[in-house]
């Protein structure tokens, strides 16, 4: 109990004192995770839209791949990215291993199936008459897709939350491809693991609380977005 209480007190002090180490780790975490989510949205939303609106040969296979991807152990994604980026790997020449870019790549691979899968599910759950209605008022396919994304915005924002939650809390994959290098690729989760191992429970707790705060802040912001423009 003491550890928890002391930890809590120290964590507050560290945060209040704007400890430079903790701030740099937090900033990097936010940077890579937000970038990864943004890239994942850019890829995942169009894929989800196409899979839900169009019918083409091979569609079933792609859906199966995405569903598998949604339950893929992230550490495996990390391993694959590692094998691609390591010196003897096919992309070894890019020298990306143990860089923030490598972390972003792994996180994108983790998040894309989540975004695509949830977007597809959200659009498929809409009334098919809506699509017909948009087209029947003269919408192009793109305009129709945008309207449907808007109509399904509650579930779509949930997809963003799920993707962000998956990447900001990822440890294993980030550890493998980033290497947890202090000042370079150390993020909140890997730092938390390290501090716990070293017995610095107060610092570990402080990092954990920051993770919680970020999740809370991001989800609150997204929830507000969800409710904007809604009319009763």
């Amino acid at each position: 109990m003491d550890v928890l209480l002391n930890g809590f007190r120290e964590a507050l002090a560290l945060m209040a004192g704007l400890d430079p180490y903790i701030i740099s780790v937090t900033v990097l975490s936010l940077k890579v995770s937000l970038l990864a989510v943004a890239v994942a949205l850019l890829i995942g939303i169009p894929v989800g839209v196409i899979l839900s609106l169009a019918d083409f040969p091979g569609r079933g296979f792609i859906v199966a791949v995405i569903n598998t991807g949604m339950s893929l152990p992230p550490v495996l994604a990390g391993l694959v990215v590692y094998l691609f980026l390591c010196r003897s790997g096919p992309l070894g020449d890019l020298n990306l291993l143990y860089s923030p870019a490598a972390i972003v790549i792994a996180q994108v691979i983790i998040a894309v199936p989540v975004v695509a899968g949830l977007t597809m599910a959200s659009l498929r759950s809409l009334d098919p008459a809506l699509r017909l209605q948009a087209l029947g008022l003269g919408a192009s396919w793109l305009q129709c897709a945008l309207l449907l994304l808007r109509e399904g915005r509650f579930s779509n924002v949930a997809a963003v939350m799920a993707a962000f939650g998956a990447v900001i809390s990822e440890v294993g994959a980030v550890m493998i491809v980033g290497g947890d290098i202090k000042g370079d690729t150390r993020v909140l989760t890997t730092a938390l693991v390290l501090e716990t191992r070293m017995g610095n429970y107060e610092r570990a707790l402080a990092l954990g609380m920051i993770l919680l705060l970020i999740s809370f802040a991001v989800n609150s912001a997204l929830t507000m977005l969800q409710h904007r423009g809604r009319r009763e």
């Binding site: 017909l132 209605q133 087209l135 029947g136 008022l137 305009q143 109509e151 809604r230 009763e232």
Partner: protein
């Protein structure tokens, strides 16, 4: 009203399951209201979606104003000359004004013009008071008016209306369809209008098309379809409830004697002179007389029978009579009360030879 506005040739479409739509040719003329009737599952809505370029046919060509549509860009341009109103109002999750504005916004109409035209459309449908409201708390009638305003705001040349107002109560429906008809007339908008209500079809139609099992089985002016259906399918569709099988015994100057069971029914037909036939009669053309008074009427046909059942309907009683074969008649509530008719009573069913419609089989 002469040239076809929209024409489709050789339309074939197959959906999930074994439903196949196969329409050789159909035209929507400029300025007309073409009503499509048919039972549920006959392919009415599918045909509407194909005509509206909202569904891709397996084969077939569509012409707009005489020109064949050959690519997606042309199809989009034509889709923007049409507007769809569905059975459900299908409003988007935005304000009433934004709903109505949608068609204009996606066409890139400038903001000020959008506001002005939305206002006009709302006034046209008498829903100015809904401005600024959300769509959740609208009544059924209001929601349908918003849906209509949203379609009409784009000044379509062709309005596609799929079983509208189905869920509305009777008086609201009559109000709305009267408004729709006068708007179409006033603005010279052509329309394809799907319904399975006979009243609706008669009220709205310049021409009527009948769909059955994915095929267009008859198309023509309403009087022809409703009085001289070309086939049994169409006859059942347009309200001929009594159908007997018979064979022509004698034909003199268009007046036929047709044997049905033990009885001879007299009928008038321009086309049929012999052979096996279906004899069909509308329930409202049959008059019932209690008892066996054969000679009190000038009608050609008097058939004795027993009342099987009496079912109350909105304005009439639907009476099923067993005359050796089943016969359906509508009688007014008043005359039913005067006669004191009940199941098991002996009645004489009378109808004119002109009321009998004969179809070859």
């Amino acid at each position: 009203m002469s040239d076809p506005l929209l024409k489709a040739v050789g339309l074939r479409w197959s959906g999930k399951g074994d439903f196949v739509l196969d329409v050789l040719s159909i035209e929507v003329l400029k300025g007309e209201v073409l009503v499509i009737i048919g039972r549920s599952g006959s392919g009415k809505s599918t045909l509407l979606r194909l005509l509206g370029l909202l569904e891709k046919p397996k084969t077939g060509k569509v012409f707009w104003d005489g020109a064949e549509l050959s690519n997606g860009r042309e199809a989009l341009a034509v889709r923007r000359k049409m507007a769809l109103v569905q059975q459900k109002p299908c409003l988007f999750d935005m304000t009433v004004d934004d709903n109505i504005a949608y068609g204009l916004v996606i066409r890139g109409v400038e903001r000020g013009a959008v506001r002005k035209r939305v206002k006009e459309a709302m006034e046209l449908l008498h829903i100015g008071y809904l401005s600024g409201r959300g769509t959740m708390a609208l009544s059924g009638g209001e929601a349908h008016r918003v849906s209509l305003a949203r379609a009409l705001v784009t000044d379509p040349e062709l309005l596609l209306i799929d079983e509208p107002f189905l869920s509305l109560d009777h008086s609201l429906r009559i109000h709305l369809r009267r408004d729709v008809k006068s708007i179409l007339r006033e603005k010279g908008i052509s329309a394809v209008y799907i319904t399975h209500e006979r009243d609706d079809a008669l009220f709205m139609a310049d021409r009527v098309a009948v769909m059955s099992s994915g095929n267009l089985v008859q198309i023509g002016d309403p009087a022809e379809i409703f009085n001289r259906p070309a086939s049994l399918e169409v006859a059942k569709c347009v309200g001929f409830e009594t159908v007997w099988e018979g064979s022509v015994e004698k034909s003199v100057d268009g007046l036929l004697d047709i044997r049905v069971g033990n009885t001879v029914v007299q009928a008038v037909s321009d086309e049929i002179t012999s052979g096996k036939v279906f004899v069909t009669i509308r329930p409202e053309e049959v008059t019932l007389i209690k008892g066996g008074h054969r000679d009190l009427t000038s009608a050609r046909n008097c058939i004795a029978g027993k009342v099987v059942s009496l079912e109350p309907q909105t304005a009439v009683y639907r009476v099923v009579v067993d005359a050796g074969f089943p016969l359906v008649a509508y009688i007014t509530k008043q005359s039913s009360e005067e006669m004191g008719l009940k199941a098991g009573d002996d009645v004489t069913s009378t109808f004119k030879a002109h009321s009998v419609h004969v179809i070859g089989r």
